[in-house]
Every structure is written in structure tokens, then in C-alpha cells.
Symmetry: D2
Subunit: 284 residues, 4 copies
């Protein structure tokens, strides 16, 4: 079954759901999933609707234009149209740690995710063997203070050449510049190894151990120019106690990191995330 997915948001007003669902009904659309949300404070309307393309009275290549003219213009909507048979092209950025990388590659290879990974970029050589063994292309772009601007330019070229739509930082230990991020707004997903906003920045497991917390966490978020402060997509936690050394926290935490990152990517790939302000609506 192939389905179409509309993600939309606009100022709230009466008749929004009626207008969209009537649009689908008039063209014989069979709704599979519909989720909506109204943010009371900002009076913003959010909706995700997914319908079966089989029997739909509008050719898939015409849906966007028709929706824009019939509905979106009338309500001042921001919207995106996706199809379930799209195969998103994802770039992975890694450094020296392998756990998130292995996890993403396993999901890709087993077919759990319908994605292509045309490019893996790293500032270290450590993961080259892992990546090439999976038959993927590895680009080694070491970063220094001096060459950072130049290397980011090359990274962007690679992303453009390979038509990448989503960048996943799988424990990539470099800060991307605001210039870089401007090319991929809400399309760079990071995993931070703490329960944000607790312990942003470097060495969060050390900080957690120092503070004596009883629970550690991991946070996946869209990357913005503010370090570890972008819209949170997913978080999860694990118990620790006084017996857990920093090494134990790292071990427990890495299992969180890979699962939390995977969920965030999955939500994004399934067009379930709408970012607004510094928050997200996730239709999980």
C-alpha cells in the first residue's frame, strides 16, 4: 500500500479539520491516520493526515498544487507532502564511537528503515573499516580550527552531490557552524548523552556521576546554533546507583543513546515530527 502524508501547521481557526478532511473526501481519499494538535498558548494548529493513494481521485503529481490552491492558501498553512514510498537519503556523521553507527547501519541493512545512506562523513579514520564493510562510502574530513570553514564547505558539497535530505550526527564530536546548519534547518538530528537540559556540553556522564543522580538519560534533538538547546524529539532514561562508575554509566548510556537516536530518526522519516519555536509536536 502506498500512502500520502500531509504535515501542516498554521494559525488556529474554526473549520481547519473540516476543510482538510472534506478535501480528501471529495477526491475519494480513505484516511488511514489523522492526528491534530492545537497549541493553546500560541494558538497554532498542527496536523498530520495520511491516506491511501489507491482510489484517490487526484494524481500524486497533482496533489501538492491542488492542496495549495484549495486549502493551504486559504488558511495560510505551512505544509509538506510526502509519499510512503519515498526513500529518504540520509548522511551519517561519526567520530570515534561505534555504537550508534552500528545500530543505524543494522537498521538500514535489515530493511527496518527504508532509507539510502549515500555518504558517511567523519573527522577520524576509526570507523572507516566498519562503514566500508557495509559497502558504504566513507569520507574522512579531519577538522582543525584552521580548516573548519573549508571542511564544512566540502561536507555541504557532499550532501548536495548526494541529494541528502537528513543529516544524522551519530555521536559526531564536532560543533557544526550556524552557517552549515542554515542549509539544513530541522534536518540535522543529534544524540546528546544526557537528559537535557541537565548536563549539556562535554562529559555529561562525568557530570552525572559527580552530581550523584539516580537516573541518567539521552536526548535526541534537531541541531540549532545553540549548543544542545535545539527542539527535543525524543528522550529516555536508565537507572544508575552508587555502584555505577563513569564507565558503567557510559555502558548503560550507550544503550539509551542508540535507541533514542533511532526513535527520533524513525519519527522524522515517518513524517511524524513538526518543530515549532523550540519544541516539537511528535505524532507517535
Amino acid at each position: 500500500m502506498v500512502s500520502a502524508i500531509l504535515l501542516m501547521h498554521c494559525p488556529d481557526q474554526k473549520g481547519l479539520v473540516a476543510a482538510v478532511t472534506d478535501f480528501l473526501y471529495r477526491h475519494s481519499g480513505n484516511i488511514l491516520h489523522l492526528d491534530q494538535h492545537v497549541d493553546i498558548q500560541t494558538r497554532t494548529f498542527f496536523m498530520r493526515v495520511e491516506w491511501d493513494l489507491k482510489g484517490f481521485g487526484v494524481d500524486r503529481s497533482d496533489i501538492a498544487e491542488l492542496f495549495q490552491v484549495d486549502i493551504a492558501e486559504r488558511f495560510g498553512m505551512h505544509w509538506h507532502l510526502h509519499f510512503s514510498d519515498d526513500v529518504p537519503r540520509v548522511a551519517l556523521f561519526v567520530s570515534k564511537l561505534s555504537h550508534c553507527l552500528h545500530d543505524v547501519l543494522a537498521r538500514w541493512q535489515s530493511g527496518q528503515w527504508q532509507v539510502e545512506i549515500p555518504v558517511v562523513i567523519s573527522n577520524h579514520k576509526d570507523m572507516e573499516e566498519v562503514v566500508t564493510r557495509f559497502g558504504l562510502s566513507y569520507y574522512y574530513l579531519p577538522i582543525t580550527k584552521k580548516n573548519k570553514v573549508e571542511q564544512e564547505r566540502r561536507q555541504l558539497e557532499l550532501l548536495k552531490d548526494h541529494q541528502v535530505e537528513l543529516v544524522v550526527l551519530a555521536r559526531y564530536m564536532q560543533i557544526l557552524s550556524a552557517d552549515f546548519l542554515a542549509h539544513y534547518p530541522e534536518r540535522v538530528i543529534n544524540i546528546h548523552h544526557s537528559f537535557l537540559p541537565a548536563f549539556p556540553g562535554a562529559r555529561p556522564y562525568h557530570a552525572a556521576q559527580e552530581r550523584g543522580v539516580k537516573i541518567i538519560g539521552a536526548t535526541s534533538h534537531y541541531v540549532t546554533a545553540d549548543l544542545d538547546a535545539g527542539p527535543i524529539i525524543e528522550q529516555d532514561v536508565a537507572r544508575v546507583n552508587h555502584r555505577d562508575t563513569v564507565d558503567d554509566m557510559v555502558r548503560k548510556g550507550q544503550d539509551l543513546e542508540k535507541v533514542v537516536l533511532a526513535r527520533a530518526i524513525w519519527y522524522h522519516l515517518n513524517r511524524r515530527v513538526l518543530a515549532y519555536g523550540n519544541r516539537t509536536v511528535v505524532f507517535s
Copy 2:
């Protein structure tokens, strides 16, 4: 703000969401929340829609009839209409244990729940002092094999006299007969002290300890004639280990029981639960 809530289900077909939301839009209804779900296997449509009564073009006393004629008949819907200022009347059934009782009474008294508790029924005298101290009426109806039919008749009279719409079994250790339950279909909520379907019946913590599980649970469900087998509304779990005796499991489990029961009641009171077959849709 006073809102109206429609809970509905019917065989799935095209145009359902459009019809309902258009009905609201035509009468100037401002949708606050809309959740829908289609069960693919049974092709059943479920929806909960809540809208602001302020500015709505139909008097609240006329909504039911109009919805029935305009929408429900056309689609063969089962539906219920509620208003957010309804004050549900709840009966509590208890035996000897106080933790769920105390928890429910605290939520009632603090105003966390907008309910009335006109009657508390018990087969033991133990909780009488706790209940009367809160200013509530306690009915002591001891149950024996011999008097069970007669006592259930008196229980039903009390429920009827006090116009009770929801019965909460707060660790009530008697099995209600099928006859009794027929008067309150999907309106008797129980808390079972295990992670169902594991450990149904008596002494689940003993059984859990015997089996050596590493996690215990609690399950709140609508009561049906099949013991501990009715539609599950909510579950939660807690970790245990080899150090935990049965007493420790009871202590940890009671904290689960009261919170799980409270969540189930809250979902029910907020008209977020639709039972079908032996399952529930909970628009949480």
C-alpha cells in the same frame, strides 16, 4: 470553559471525519481536541472530539438529537455525548486494604477529580473509620456464599438510589456476578495487582516471587464475567530483584496499584476510553 465531548465508533468508511467536523463547523464549533483511530483488522472507526460550547450554534440540550439525525444514523454510529461540567457519581467498593482507597479519597478531596462519591461499599468493617472521617457514607455488606445474591441486589439498589454511573473496585476482594456486571457494562473498573495476563487470580505477588520475575506490574481493566480478563485500560511496572521478599513486592506493588487505578479512572472520567471486543482505545 465548558466543552462538549463526543465519543463514537462505527464501521469504517470514507468521509467520517469530514462529516463530523463539518457538522461542528457548520454550527460554529471550535475543536479543542480531536483523536481518531481505525482498527485495520476489524475495520472499525473510533473518534473522540471535544469542542468549546461557547459560541456553538446549537443549544447543549439539542446537540444529541441533532447529531443523531444529521450524522450518527447515516453511518450507523454508536456514540455518547458528555459535557465537561458533568460531575460523575462514583461508587467505591473496598475490602481491607487502604492504599487505593486513601489515594482515591485524596484526589476527590483535593479537587483533582471533579466527581461525587455518594457511596462506599465494603464486605468488611475495617475501612469504615477512614471513610466516615472523610464525611462519606459507608455501607457494610458482608458476603457469604449463602447471601451473595441478596447482597448484590442490595448493592445494586444503593447504586441505583445514588445514581451511580461508575463503580471502582479499589482492591475489593469479591468476585462480582455476571448478573451484577450486566447492569454496569464497561462501567466497573478494577485494579489487579499483576501485569496481566501474567498472574491472574489470587496471590499474584507470591506467584511473581515464585517465578523469579525481575519486574512486577499492576493492571486496571473493565470488569467482565471472565475473571481478570476484561479490557485493559492501563498498566505499569516496577523493577524487583532477588532481595525483594513478597512483602517488598507488596509494598512496591501498592504504589503501582494506586497510580495505575487512578490513571484508568481519570481516562474514564475524561471520556477518553472506548472499549471494543476485549480491548480499549485510550485517547491519552
Copy 3:
């Protein structure tokens, strides 16, 4: 069964466990539980040992002196001796919110905890009826900038008069002075309604909602002069999503708060907590 409990800590060295367990063995002590921990960084040894008093060859009134002379002096130990039939005397401090108060009172009344609550102190009158209904004494001591020193003096007198050993702040919304706290080092337990160190201070649920976190938490800790920065005893979390308003977070969070506070109190009452530096060892 009555048992004795020794809690001890000292610089780590060889032979500590052997010395303590040999002490018990020589006097025919039957060990029920033994937990030890060595903090590698600070090279500190922690131990909790509980043994059956029945058949123990030393009178309970002589154990402390004998242990001090035979063992503790030799290793430079800090230690406390408790007996399982001690009935700790606990003071509750409350303000306007009732959920933690109700929960503590229910545990006390049902006998889940073996404690006495000789005094409940509040800066508001709101909870007086709840408390007196349980037959407990309520002291209304309103706090202003001007009278704070005087009122804390009266609080301390009450605690002293009633031989209180543990103070529980059950959502008490006043900051205790360093002077006050000096009288009860590691004996004042607070519940903070966030996952510390995230969102310290006022209005953490508002801050959590603003930040768009996907999980909220509660933290119980010993109170120190640094606001919300004392040694953490217990934490727990609950999932939230974009649908959750601040009110929803408060509702979900209050269920966390009361359970987390109760666990922390239970650990303390069962002599399972050792605070050191700004952390705790909890032998759970």
C-alpha cells in the same frame, strides 16, 4: 524478629569486612543483610550490616560501646547503630498542596511505616483540617521576611520538644535557613518537582513545558544550604508529550512526587542511606 543495623563509613583499607563480620560471628550474630561499597575515587568504605538480635551474645545496650572499642576506633569509622523496633519520630512540613501530605498520612495510618508523627508544621492554614482529621497536631507558623528567624526558632523548639529525628518537607514552599539546617544535617528530606539538576528553583513544570522536554521527573534529596543541590536520595520520571499542558504535567508530576518522596523516606527510615560529599549510597 528484632534486628540490629550498623551503618558505617571510613577510609578504605584491607580487612574491614573481615573485622566487622568476625565481630558479629564471635558474638554469635546471624547476618540477615550485608551491603558494602567502596568509592574508588575517594577510597571510602561504606557498609550496612543487619543481624538478628535473637541469640546475639551482646546485650543490645552494650553493642555500641563494644563495637566502638573493638572495631570502630581501629579503623577510624563513622557509624550509627539502629534497631528495627525503633520508632522514628518524624515532623511534616507542608504548605498548600495536599498530595504528598495525604500520601504520607495514609502510609503512617495503615501501618506501612512504623513511625510517629508528633508534629505537622505549616506556613498556611489550608491543610489544618486534613491533618487534624487524622488526629495529628497542626502548628500554623506563617512566614514573612520579617518573622522568619523567629518562626524558625519556634519550629526548632517544636522539633526538640517532640524529639523529632527526621524532618520531611512534603511540598513545603519555604526555604529553610542554613542555621535551621545545621540542627538537622542529613535529616531534612525534600521533594523537588523536577528531574534535578534540570529545572531547580520555582515553577519547574512551567520550565519543562517551555523547554519541550519529553520526560518530567521528581527528585527527593537531603536539604542543604544550597537550594535544590543537596545529596539526591531518589528520582523517578514520567513521559509527557506535546498534548500535555502545564496542568497535565502537574497532575502526572504529583503522582511522581509522592511516590519518590515516599521511597526516599522509606530508605532513610530503614537506615539504607549514607550521604557523603554531595552524593548518597542507597543500599536499596
Copy 4:
């Protein structure tokens, strides 16, 4: 640092901890970790003690004999001695699903676990490419009713030839015979994709969906001749709701399965598990 680990159990009696710790102290052993547990019902004593070999007064090759003569015989102990620099040899059994396999291989390759994997055995060819790409040996041993006895004989030969001490069933979809299991008592670890004892046997996610549970789980246990009934080492759970199809449960469940299996293996490899009756003591 290289450490020695003693795991022991015996009928409980006074002086056990004193005897063992005195043994270590007399030989200048520095205890790193000590955990003990007494099962009250069966009056069984369990202990794990780990100490630094550096400075220990007994040569590592002589410890076992000395401990047996000095301590174990006296108390009728069952015990095992391990060293932290042992490199356990693990066999993986797989079928068609890759998620647990990938996860184990990633932990092995990254060095998170200090193990060797001399042999991977499967009743299908599907995973051969994945395994050989990691440089490991893959043995394809298809199972039919007719050849099962013969194939198990070959499996056992492989395990013996490769000096395997632990067998991990990473979603191996064949039942091992009691004869096979008799060669590896408490040394075959399985992952079952449900929260046991709920939903044993085939297709647990279908059963979970049918029953309408709100939480699914995974269970790792030692395999015994009773299907899905062996001693549980570790369990964990994830929330589901009415929106989750069986496919969604499989996706969420697979993330549980791999993490729960990994934790169980890690506990076993770190000599933290003692099985007794049908339960386990896990010194986590």
C-alpha cells in the same frame, strides 16, 4: 587491574562472610566488590566477592585448591573461581532475524565485551553474509524433524571443538533438546520476545496485540527443558497503545530484545548471576 571473582552458594549458617573475608584478609586480599544474599525460604547463602590480584598472597593457580580446602569443604559450598582477564568463548545461534545478532557483533567488535566468538551456528543461510563480513565462522546446520538429533550432535561437536563455555540464542527459532541442554546447564541464554510468564511460545506480539495489553516486554533467561520457563536473568518493557499494530510491536520489541539480551549476557560474563531452583540472584 586484574581481579579474581568467587561465586558461591551453600546452606546458610553463621560465620560465612567472616570466614570468606578472613581468608582474603589473611592473604592480603583487597576486596573490590562484595555482594551477599540469603534466601530466607530455602535458607541458602549466596555470595560474590571480587578482589584485586595485585598484592594477593596466593598465586592465582593455587587459589582454587586453597579455597576448597580452607573454606568450601567446611561449609559445603558450591563455588566457581574466575579471573577478570579470562576471555570467555561464546557461540551464537541465530535464525533469520538480524537485530540481536548485529547488536552482539557490534559489542564484540567495539571491545565493549571481552569475548571471543569462535562459532556462529544457524538453521538458515540468511545471516551468513552478515557474519562472515565480521570475519567470523558461520555454520549452516538446517534442522528437520528427521535430522534434529544428528544436527544437535554436530552442534555439540562444534561447541566442544571451539571450547565454547556460553551459548547465546540470538533469536534462534528452534527448540533445543533436553539432551543438548544437559551439556550446558545454566550456560545457554535465550531472549524471548514477551514479558514472561505472559505469552510464552510462538507469536507473542500477536498474542499481546490480541489481548490488548498496554505494555510489551522481553525476557532473557537460562534455557531449560521447559520451554520459556527457565530462570529469568533480565526483563524490560515498553509502552504500546491502540495505534500499535503487530508490526509496531515487533519494531519496539526488537529494541527491547537486543538490550535485554545484552544485559543478561553482560551479567553472565561478569560472573554476576547465580541460578538456583528456577530463579536467579543477579548481583547487578
